[in-house]
Structure formats: C-alpha cells, structure tokens
Assembly symmetry: C2
Homo-oligomer: 541 residues x 2
Amino acid sequence: MGWMADETGLEKGPANYVPLTPLSTLRRAVSIYGPELAVVYGTHRKTYVEYAERITRLASALAARGVAPGDVVATLIPNLPAQAEAHFGVPACGAVLNTINTRLDVDTVAYILGHGGAKVVLADTQFIDLAEQAIAAQDGPAPILIEVPDEQAGFPATGRHLTYEDMLAGADPAFEWIMPDDEWESIALNYTSGTTGRPKGVVYHHRGAYLNAMGQILSWRMVLRPRYLTIVPLFHCNGWCHTWMMPMLGGRIICCRDITAPAIFSAIADEGATHFGGAPIVLNMLVNAPESERRAFDHTVEVFTAGAPPAPATLARIEPMGFNVTQVYGLTETYGPATECTWGPHWDDLQGDDRAAIKARQGVAMPIYDHITVMDDQMRQTPMDGETTGEIMMRGNGVMKGYYKNPEATAEAFKGGYFHSGDIAVQHPDSFVQITDRAKDVIISGGENISSVEVEGVLMGHPDVMLCAVVAKPDEKWGEVPCAFVELKPGAMGDAAALIAFARERLAGFKTPKQVVFGELPKTSTGKIQKFELRGKAKAL
Amino acid sequence: MGWMADETGLEKGPANYVPLTPLSTLRRAVSIYGPELAVVYGTHRKTYVEYAERITRLASALAARGVAPGDVVATLIPNLPAQAEAHFGVPACGAVLNTINTRLDVDTVAYILGHGGAKVVLADTQFIDLAEQAIAAQDGPAPILIEVPDEQAGFPATGRHLTYEDMLAGADPAFEWIMPDDEWESIALNYTSGTTGRPKGVVYHHRGAYLNAMGQILSWRMVLRPRYLTIVPLFHCNGWCHTWMMPMLGGRIICCRDITAPAIFSAIADEGATHFGGAPIVLNMLVNAPESERRAFDHTVEVFTAGAPPAPATLARIEPMGFNVTQVYGLTETYGPATECTWGPHWDDLQGDDRAAIKARQGVAMPIYDHITVMDDQMRQTPMDGETTGEIMMRGNGVMKGYYKNPEATAEAFKGGYFHSGDIAVQHPDSFVQITDRAKDVIISGGENISSVEVEGVLMGHPDVMLCAVVAKPDEKWGEVPCAFVELKPGAMGDAAALIAFARERLAGFKTPKQVVFGELPKTSTGKIQKFELRGKAKAL
C-alpha cells in the first residue's frame, strides 16, 4: 500500500485522471490522423474527420430519440461502416451497444431485445424482416427501428422505416459527446451464443474496452497505421475490440459484408489489409480457394485464429501463401482474445508437425491480464507437465463486468476470485496453455477421458477431410464412444472404413471413432461447429 | 453515464478488476519470457527468471530493514542493473522509489533525502562519498546506506557499508510482493532539476507508470523483444518509464554506465540495441565521433530525442548512419514524454531542411493523453496557425499525482483542470505543437518576443558550431538583446563576427545575437543546457 507519509494535494483531479474509454482515443485520432482514411467499404471511404462527424451525428440522433445514458441500443448489421460507427456513436450518447448476431432466429432475437431492453434497433435491410418479427414478438416496449440499407451489396431501402443515412442527415454535427464519469460504466452488452438455454448478456465497461484494445496491439505486434480487415463479426465480442483499437494507431478498418475467399484476397491485394482475425474455417477457405479466386500480394498478412487450433495441414499450406498465423483464445466473457500463442525465436526453425504442435497451443496471457493459468477443481495450480488437465482460470482487467440481470451466474463464474472459463486444458512446462476440450465436449469412454480435439486433429490430417467434429455417442457397454462428423473436400469420396483405419494408426483404440458420418457441419456465425447439434444427431444414430 | 437499468452483481471484484501496476507485467514476463535475457551489463547477464528473483530479494531485504509500504527508498546509481532492479524491487515491498540525480551537489542531495524522508539509500561506489556527506548534512533520521559497487567499471566496494550483493544474498527469494490495492498508490518520487529554488518532488502512481509505459510502446512502434539501451538516466523521469515498459514486450535492457560514442556503438553492434532515448547532445556525439570510435551495424536504430529539437545539420548526418530520429517532449511532471512528433507517410519524400522542419516539432499527444494543446493566458485554445504562441497545456493519465508536500504548487500547476507546462509554443494547422521557448527563456527586445530556440537553430547550421545557447542580455536601449554562447567543434576557431554575419543573413536584425561567447556550456545530467547560469554570465558581460 504505497500511500506516502503526506498525500495532501495528491488526489485525483481533472488534469491527471481521465476515465479510460475508447471515446477519447477517437477524439485524439481526429486531431492527428484527421485527413487519413478510417473506414473503407467499396465506394464508402471516410477519413477520421468524416468518421467522427458521422459518429457525432449518430450520438445526437439517438439522444434526440430519447436514448438516455445507460439505455441500450441494439444493432443487427454485418461488418459494415454503420456497425463500426455504432461502436463509438452509441457510447458517445452515454448508451450501451448491444450488437446482435444476425444469424439468430426470431425467437432468440426477441428474447435479447426484451431482456436487454433496447430503445433503438439499427438493422441492415437484409435483416429487416428478422428485426420486425423479433420486435413484434418481444416482451416490453418496442424499440424504434432504423433501417441500414446497403445498396452497393444489393440491399436498397424497403421504404418501411427511417433510414440510417436520413437519420444522420437530420442530426446535429456539433453534439457534445457524453464521456464516462467512471471508467467502470457499461459500454457494451454481448449475448453469449447460448448453445444451451437462453443466452446470457455479457456486460463490458469502458476501462476494459480501452485496455483490451491497447493490450492486443502489443500482442499482435501492430505498429502505426495498420489496415484491419473485419472478418470476425463485430457482433462477436465487438469484433475482439478492433474498432476500438484502430484510432489508437491511426489504423484503417476495411469492411467486409460476406466472408468469401475472393473478398479476402481483394481486401489484401486492393486495400492492403495487413491484419485480420478469423476461425480456422476461414483459413481453410483460403487454402482451398481455386487459383481463379486468388490474388497476388507481396506483404505478410498477420492472421489471428481462434475457436480451434489451426490444423497442421492448413498451416503448412497457408504460411507459404504469405500469411503468418497465430492462435488466440478467449470467450465473450473476455472481450475476445485473452491468451495468445506468442511465438518465440527459439521456435523459428521448427517445420511441419513440430511447428503446428506449437501453434496448436492457446498460449499465454495477453499483456493486460494479471494471471491466466490451469487449476484443478479445488482451484489449485495443476502441474505444468503438458499432461495433467484442469480448467483455464483467468484474473485481470480483460474479464467482463458480469452477466446482465443475472447476479447468480456472475457469482458462479467469478467464484474464488477467478473467471472460470469452462475450458479444459493442460499447461506445458513453459507455462503455455493448451486446450484439450470444452468441459462439456470431453468424451468419457469406459472411464477414460477422450479429448475430442485430439481425435479431430488426427482426422484433419487426412487429405479428404475439409472439416470435422468428434462428439460422444451413447454406448451401452462403454458409456460413450467417439463419433466423427466429417465435411469432405470438393471431389473427395467419403470412405468411413478408411478414415477409421487412418485414425486407428495414430490413436489408441478407445479414442478411435466408432462411426463416421459425412455431410456439412452445423456452424455458428463465427465458424464454430455447433457440437450440441451433433450430439443430438449422434444420439439418434 | 453508462449505468444500466440494473447493475446488480456487476460491481468490481478480484476476478475482473486488478489495479494497474508495472509489477504485474513483470510477473507475467517471468512466466512467458523466463529463460530470455532481461538485463545485460558487460558480464552481468540476467534472464527474466533471475531478474525477478533479484527483485524479490531486494524487496525482501528492504522490508527486513524496516521499509514499510509508503516509505521512500532512494538511489544514487547510474544506469546499472541495480537501478533497474530498484524500479520493481522498491514497489514490490510497497515502497516509493526516489532515484536521485548523481550529479547533484551535497546540499541538494541532503535536501532531497530530508524532504523525501528516505529510509534506505542505495548508492553506487562512485557516489558513496556524496551519499555519506548528504546523509551527514540532511534533516531528519539518517537512512540506512547500502553500497552498490561496480567492479567491472573500476569501482570496487569501499568496505565501509553493506554491499548490495551481500544484502541480496541474505534475503528471502520467496518473499511475497506487496501489490497495490489501489492503482493511485504512489510508486516513485522524482525531484525536478530545480534550475531556480529548491527542487520539487514529483509523485508518480502505479496507474500512470503502467499506462505511460504501455502508451509509449504504441507511439514508439515497438514490437515484441526490443533491446533498449539506457542512455536517458533512470534518475530522470524513471528513464521515461522504460524499465517498466520492457516486461510488457519481453524486451531487454542494455545498461550503460558512461554515455560515450564507443559505448553506444558497441551496444548497437555487439548487443543489438534497437531503441534508445537521449538529448540532442547524444546525437551530436555520434555524428561527430571519429571513424575509430564507430562500429558497423545493419539494422535501423530508433532514437527518441528530447530537450531541444534535433538540429537540421545533425539530422542530415545521423539518418544515413542508420538512426531514425523522432523528437518527443515532456517534463518530469509527465513521466517523461507526453508528445511525439509522429511521422506521417505524407512526409516521406521531404529531405534536408524541410524534413528537419517537421522533425523540429514536438508533435502530438501520446496515446494515453486525453488532450494536449496550446492555450492563451485565459485558457482559450489559440489559433492553429503556426504563428500564435501560447502555453502547452496537458490533461490525461500521463500527468503526475502532484508535488510532494506542496499542495500549493500542485494546485497552481493544475489550475483550470490542465497541467500547465510552462512551455511556450505555436500549434500548426495539423495540430502539431512546436515549442518556441520556455516561458522564462523568451527574449524580449524592443517589445518584440524573440524565440531563443529559433536563433539557436540558425547558429547550429554553421559548420563550426557543436552546440549553442542563446539567452537574454540586459540592454539599456532594447531592454534585452540576444547573446549567444557557443561550443565549437574540435579544431574550429571561434570567429564571433563571422557567426553574427551568418545569423544576420538568416534572421531579422533584432533576432541576431549582438554578442557571441565561446566555451563549454554548462549542462544538467541529462544534457540540457543550464540557461539560468548563462543568463547570469550574460548579465555580467
């Protein structure tokens, strides 16, 4: 407790204490990087001055519609300029941004609107029906619906609602932003994907948004003026805080409506994208893209992948194409990435499987964390032997405020002073964490734990396999046995027996899948495979 | 005020709120970069694991000697490993680090020890007499004196005191660090250089040390594993927070006892130094170094210079040598740099004087600042026209807590919610700030303000001039006239008339120095010219 003998006059004041918030970083960027491009999307090209003016107009328009500090404003928008603007414009009127996953069903969106209590919803024309239906179905007072058309993508306004551009045109460009008085004030509300039960509303604060953004700059080795391609949806952990990060560096956001190989290659070749984040499925998309969809470029693109380890085969093919892949790991509860597989020069010479084995680790705590480690069920540190499993536990300024209107779930998640991730992992002797499974994805066969991730890693090495997921299938004798669901590469024929034999050569018998099912895998909007659905299918087989 | 309708359960807790402090970054670095070198100084080469162990021992040893949280521990040490260790070891026992300038006189050191109330002093053998005499002369209880010998530099222990290494050897390597409960707790006490009157004790807090370190990483375009050469004394604004910055990046500190051209070139060539900060005098030293003192290297070294703009002639010579020079500006009150002349790609083609003219600006606010600008004496924003002068004003998390035991001076410095820098500047249309003078350095001649910096810039362009300073000389007719003090390059002959003529060709008549005096200039330990001494000399001329 470093309080000196006499601290008279050393209290906080306006000159030396300013609440941490992404808003102040944008204000600074306008004065430094004003004439430089901040956001691009096809013909939409806005400088920092223009971006900030649009944000000011958005804040003014929301306030004029009765949005008060602490109120919720929801969005149903792909990774477009309006969605980026909402990340600043909503907090700039003191409100809390609730980006909703555009791929959810009406019932879930209605639940989120009712639970969050949104006063205004900004919805892309493609999702305007979803918004209308959800509003009709929700509990509580209906929010005002503002439509965000996207003419260049073939989504002109329906004419049924005030449009976003008309709203901005009528707003006050001199509106004074409402800055937080306390950095603990809420800035965003993100509902978990909710694979079971109702989604929980994860609340972020201004301090966390600021620190997560700043810390990731360090981890991601970003210097001034990066060009960030938005692949991770901005409705997923606020796009890992990247819209909040860009003003700190005078960076540019390259918006991307649909995630396709041609869209990504053209963002790199034409717009000079330097960084993006995405699930391994995006990496697969790139390595499997036909020559006609590819574009040449001569810089290295830094790619951050999460959701599953990048498969050795994918890594071996994508790195020579000009991408440097780093795995990160986190949850909605941690504003996106909390750990990163920080590369060391001592690994530079590793190739092939050895290189992939390192890159398969989820890694170490990002700079703003106080402590991320693996603990047993008594919250004791597990041995760092690369074998003993436990749960990943996190403590630090990258952890959410808690779950909205759910103090019980918050208390449960923070039991013992750590956030309980629910992910099962080992810790290597160098402290790097490696997930063996989600707690609920572990397969228990004859009393033995089977890591579904391990079995999937083996199957991904087979040349016919594009993507796969292994889940538990109930079994009378063993309790559970592994069952594999496989998506094949174009042109490959599914041969279950051959795949099982391939796995058996590389795995213990009890870990080898007993059954293989071919077909497209169900995925969330972020490319995560929805295992709970596959578990249902496996049960019915 | 972003407080949501129901914030039950969303309060701060140990899982999601950890006070910002450099201490946690070192703990994290040990687990990630443990076996990598953290500090090197000749044969002293310590990994992060070893560095942290020595720091733990230091904290334990101090606590064992009665140093309690909030107490002050002083140092009189050059840029050596023990000084770096004190930056963590002193706070790790809850205490406040008071690094004292080793070039101060006995009387001033005695004043600082008495005013700060140090319980322990760590003093390098070269300065042990100074420490002993100051302790003998100071008010209040005498601190315990620990001697830090430096045998490799020819300073073996005197035998009169317990040595630093013996103290560490007897300490507890399992001592538990005392972490701050509140990020506003004090971490360091730095006395201003005090060109007039007694020095003031500037207090830093853990939050500011953390944020300044993190923000400078962004400005300085540092990525993982930099190698930072310590030229700026660690007793000057804690070396601009660089010991606190390194663990965030797994960086290495290269210690340097004496600042000479051969020492700098060998740190670059042999130790791979990538970054350093230093006054323009250090740049002069490098460009004027004879061939025999230079070493070849093949990377670009990032150099941050402060205290005065780098002269065009210096820039033109140093950049082709492999150094990229960026000017930064700050004060003891701002933990070192607060602004930086952030380079833009639109200036890449500028050469010669045009390039130097941009690099002569002090620049824009570093990322953690809320607002840095120029205001008139009514605290109104001055026009950004590159001509109207005003005072640089600063608001943000990079500003000190205040002056120790001096609430009046603190209140005065923070009047109106901004820190008043005392520096006079113009602001260019792109918002970049450029200092025209320290308020007290402005020369007022016949009612016209003359910027001493402008006149110095012109004189520095003369091939004979190594260094110069222009001050006011009292004059019956004009009130004041400019008087130049010039340090010549080796071999150059002083020709006052020629220099005056050179200046007259480039300056208005009233700005041209009326007198030129040749000789070595008096400097502070950080290379700043002590103008108050020169003003005295000018008066006596």
